[in-house]
């Protein structure tokens, strides 16, 4: 299986590139400080997501579901109950499920295992209502606890490497009546749709800015959007079929974006126009 070996080597090379930002530590730190400064200015009057995050913390601690349990024993990757910094290291491979999970799919796992809330119930819920509204609040709480942390996605597990490659394919996958892929809008520097600037997600800087500033509060419609919602709306603009909530395509894309952004900074929840 000569071909497979060659691919394995090039995979390692690719992953090496992604994780070797240490070489640019000085520049990184500069960019990091600048980004934090800009964000501080933005939230000087208070982040509109604060209230949601407070409600989310309450939900995290309150027993719920058929098993009447709280989420306090949920393991987001840093051990049961550890929330601080956890979102900055997601998505990650979880040995207990044998899967790569992003924040929302991991929370669904916890809700199912600890509280007995069926995954499908969350998936089927309309946006910003019922189970999804609970999810939004809990997500707001968890990402607030990673605000200012370094994006640090652990790419060492083979399943993470595989998800990265699958996510990259998804990112460049042109399809549908407009022939668009994510790369059509997010694959070059300095691109705009109307006046909306689009980060170049194929590069570290753009990936860090794009990935690291979601979930976010959108001032234009006074809505809090999780990353799953962000991706759903980009697919909608792309004119594809609809991605299923928490599906592997969305997780693979998230791995691709987060790993490309490794070394950047989480400014979450973000504030968007």
């Amino acid at each position: 299986m000569f071909k497979k070996q060659v691919l394995a080597v090039s995979l390692i090379a690719a992953v090496w590139n992604i994780t070797s930002f240490g070489a640019f530590a000085a520049n990184d730190e500069d960019a990091r400080l600048k980004a934090i400064e800009a964000y501080r200015k933005q939230i000087a009057d208070g982040n509109p997501s604060d209230l949601l995050a407070m409600e989310g913390e309450e939900l995290w601690r309150t027993p719920y579901g058929p098993k009447n349990q709280s989420l306090e024993r949920c393991d987001l990757g840093l051990g049961p109950g550890v929330v601080k910094g956890a979102a900055a290291k997601l998505p990650r491979y979880f040995p207990d499920t044998g899967k790569v999970e992003d924040l929302e799919s991991r929370l669904m796992t916890c809700m199912e295992q600890l509280q007995g809330v069926e995954r499908q119930k969350v998936i089927d819920s309309p946006w910003r209502k019922g189970e999804k509204l609970r999810m939004d609040k809990i997500v707001a709480y968890i990402v607030t606890e990673s605000n200012g942390e370094k994006i640090e996605v652990d790419m060492s597990h083979p399943k993470m490497k595989e998800m990265y490659e699958l996510g990259k394919r998804m990112f460049f996958y042109r399809t549908g009546p407009f022939d668009f892929s994510c790369a059509t809008c997010h694959g070059k520097d300095g691109q705009r749709i109307r006046l909306q600037e689009l980060p170049n997600i194929t590069k570290q800087e753009g990936a860090a800015a794009g990935w690291g500033s979601w979930p976010a509060y959108r001032v234009s419609n006074s809505q809090f959007w999780t990353m799953q919602m962000r991706l759903n709306d980009c697919f909608r603009q792309q004119r594809t079929a609809e991605p299923i909530y928490g599906s592997d395509a969305t997780i693979a894309l998230s791995v691709y974006m987060a790993a490309n952004g490794n070394g950047g900074v989480m400014l979450t929840p973000g504030i968007k126009r």
Partner: protein, 208 residues
């Protein structure tokens, strides 16, 4: 007429099949991933996730895979075969209607319904009327299009073909195939052409 150049520059490489780097295992996993991750919602059928031949080739090319330039040229020529010229031989419609089409980015999403009138969303990617400040830059500026190029049959045919099927010039163009993919009707394309070429259109009137 504007010379028709193919975007082949920089495309190196040798003949490989349409697959990515010959990794059949990952190809199969990717196919399964797409299949279990998407669903039909409203008018956005799950079938939209099936790639056309050129979409597949352009995905590989844009992700940095090696693609056979002969294959690119072959598929581009096939796109040429899709061009249909205006049935009554008239290229130019009503620029006022054309302006609405250029402004509207509606249509074909799963939140649209079957009788949503599709827009062209031209302003998403192009500058057109210089007085409209909200324009994107994925495509070149089209301000003063008719004023600068005149309206010889060659020029009209070039623009029509670009709008009908941009892929007939540049296989991996970012611009949708408005005619070929049925996004706009023949009449809508005429109106948008009017918007580009009519001397009274703000695209030309406001061009400085």
């Amino acid at each position: 007429m504007k010379p028709i150049t193919l975007a082949l520059a920089g495309v190196l490489g040798f003949a490989t099949p349409l697959a990515w780097a010959g990794n059949a295992d990952l190809d199969a996993k990717f196919k399964e991933l797409v299949d279990r991750s998407f669903k039909t919602t409203g008018i956005a059928q799950k079938e939209r996730m099936i790639q056309l031949d050129f979409q597949k080739l352009c995905s590989a090319l844009e992700a940095g895979e090696k693609v056979d330039p002969k294959k690119i040229e072959e598929l581009r020529q096939a796109q040429e075969q899709t061009i249909r010229w205006p049935s009554d031989g008239k290229f130019l419609g009503n620029w006022k209607e054309g302006e609405k089409i250029a402004q509207s980015g509606r249509g074909l999403t799963w939140t649209d319904n079957p009788d949503t009138v599709n827009g062209g969303g031209c302003y998403n990617c192009h500058q057109m009327d210089q007085k409209e400040l909200s324009y994107g830059n994925i495509g070149p500026s089209l301000s003063g299009y008719g004023k600068l190029r005149g309206n010889s049959e060659e020029v009209l045919k070039y623009a029509w073909r670009q709008i009908w099927n941009s892929k007939s010039f540049n296989l991996c163009s970012s611009m949708p195939r408005f005619g070929d993919a049925g996004i706009l009707t023949e009449q809508q394309i005429k109106d948008v052409m009017g918007y580009l070429f009519d001397p009274e259109s703000p695209v030309n009137k406001n061009h400085k």
